[in-house]
């Protein structure tokens, strides 16, 4: 496929369609609404399901219902809308049905604003809804990565019967970049739907999709099953990018848009003779703890950059386990840091690299 100039929100919506998304349910919220609009036109054209729900609460439960039928289904929203979806997401996790969610994060808490933010890291990565579960969370830094991770999200959601979240932010949703869309996949036939799906109890015992385990012993058995699944996900689905780590004296750790800005700043620092590396986690759950730890073994000091008050910072500290000093630079409230700001922070951390260990 040739590269096209694509807006992020439209790019992930079209990528989902090509990945075989059969149904989309959503509710308008800035800065992701173009995705819903794109789906409203394209899905009916293709004979697939689009429905604008009365709320995010309803949207996620429509997604839940469609997922029970064994179809590839998704929704997309932004921070306050995703908060409303947390009830449904917990039920979905408790029922082990595959669902894809794209969260185009914006400034918060509360109504906040519509500018780019990474303030939902904890909410998405640590579970978010009630009970013990963790969705797979993938964080793109470019439109191409947004497209690719959306396709991967559908495959991972089905492979592990889990929620797969693409965690973008307002700048990725709104900006345009040249990117390549995947080819159109053929849709799965009804007969090819999963064995557990609600397709009508013909020549088999009825299927029940439920998140209820009234006996605590059974609930714990189920919880342990999720834990086992998480172990497999943690072993097989870690994704990250490293740059200039080999001879680095300090390293930055940043994800998504902050990772992209950090990359610009690190490149400038390299050009000015500073030995700086970058680790950009792509899978936020499962988090690349081992990769961060290996970086901590090589460098003298780490700088974490985020568009929040220091949420992934906790995971970096867990990985580093006190090996080196971890500095933090964050902008909040919908402010996107400039590469120059990050560069200044690199200079500060670099100047103190001798006493980081």
């Amino acid at each position: 496929m040739p590269k096209e100039l694509l807006k992020g929100n439209i790019a992930f919506a079209e990528a989902a369609i090509r990945a075989g998304c059969e149904a989309y349910f959503g509710y308008p919220i800035t800065p992701q609404t173009e995705a819903l609009e794109h789906m409203s036109k394209r899905m009916p054209e293709l004979g697939r399901v689009f429905l604008q729900a009365e709320s995010e609460v309803a949207a996620i439960n429509m997604v839940y219902g469609a997922a029970c039928a064994g179809v590839r289904v998704m929704t997309s929203s932004s921070s306050p809308g995703v908060s409303l979806m947390m009830e449904g997401l917990s039920y979905i996790a408790g029922s082990e049905v595959p669902v894809v969610l794209v969260n185009v994060m914006r400034g918060g808490p509360g109504l906040g604003n519509i500018a780019p933010s990474q303030g939902d890291y904890n909410q998405m990565v640590k579970g978010g809804g009630h009970g013990d579960y963790k969705p797979i969370v993938l964080a793109p830094a470019t439109i191409q990565e947004l497209i690719d991770l959306t396709v991967i999200a559908f495959d991972l959601a089905e492979k592990y019967r889990t929620i797969a979240v693409v965690l973008a932010d307002g700048s990725i949703g709104q900006m345009m970049e040249p990117a390549e869309l995947p080819p159109m996949r053929e849709l799965r036939q009804v007969a090819e739907r999963p064995h557990w799906a609600l397709t009508g109890a013909v020549d088999r015992e009825p299927n029940v999709v439920s998140s209820i385990y009234i006996d605590p012993v059974e609930e714990e058995v189920f919880n342990l099953k999720l834990v086992e699944k998480q172990k497999q996900i943690e072993a097989e689905e870690i994704r990250f990018r490293e740059m200039w780590i080999d001879d680095a004296e300090i390293a930055l750790v940043a994800f998504g848009t902050a990772g992209r800005i950090a990359q610009s700043a690190v490149k400038d620092a390299r050009e000015n003779g500073m030995k700086v590396g970058l680790l950009r986690p792509i899978s936020l759950y499962p988090y690349p703890y081992a990769a961060v730890q290996q970086v901590a073994d090589k460098v003298n000091r780490i700088l974490v950059v985020e568009m929040n008050g220091g949420q992934m910072l906790d995971d970096v500290r867990l990985a580093v386990e006190g090996r080196v000093q971890v500095d933090f630079y964050g902008r909040m409230g919908g402010i996107v840091p400039l590469p120059d700001e990050v560069y200044e922070q690199i200079e500060k951390t670099y100047a103190q690299r001798a006493n980081g260990r």
């Binding site: 009365e54 839940y64 219902g65 469609a66 039928a69 039920y91 009508g200 009825p206 029940v208």
Partner: protein, 271 residues
Amino acid sequence: MHSGQMGDELMTERDGMVETLIYTKPVSLTTGATHYCPGCTHGIAHRLIAEVIDDMGRRESTLGVAPVGCAVFAYDYFNMDFAEAAHGRAPAMATGLKRVSPDKLVFTYQGDGDLASIGAAEILHAAGRGENITVIFINNAIYGMTGGQMAPTTLPGQKTTSTPSGRDIEVHGFPLKMSEVLSQMDGAAYIVRRSLHDVAHIRKAKKAIRTAFEVQEQGIGFSMVELLSSCPTNWGISAEDALTWVEEHMVPAFPLGDYKVHESISARKKG
């Protein structure tokens, strides 16, 4: 297929004795006991739905959505594919199921707290969209599973564990009349209220459930049958007195009747 009706005769041999069964369990119900309290009308409602689905020959192409409340385990009692919804969200979940499975009959089974309180938005919009699903609404004027608190349909003056002096309309306002409310939606095709307090009314309820599923089968729109039901346990009276209480207190407050019957249904019935 026609099962579970009086007059069906089934000969079985057990322990050397020949039994003649004249009243069998519908195939659309599973065997075994339910967890419902003695005298509760959930069992009657389950059976009516199952008989209708049997009669329509649709057990293998029906998908149910269970609520949160006393009927939370409905999926154990209906012998068909089932999903268990979050509290009040059954109409949204059924919408998702139906939209991707248009050839299936999809129904929700919801109590008054589920449908009229926490799920008021979901039921209103499902009706407004004319969502082609069937809703069986059990109204017993109280929260059963949590132990007898005020429901959105609790009557003025009715004592519950959260209105110990009786529902004070100055504090808690008035009960919601959902059949009346939903009948105002253009998307609603069939909205009726029936009662389960005696045999004659139970027969009428079954006819309404049949019509509601037929409305869905023919793609006419949203259908709901509200069933006035008893809760002897949480009302603190005997099973028999509870049926009398439905007749004497609930029926006047929630009048029985056809609140919305799409013209194509009434035309068909006349024809």
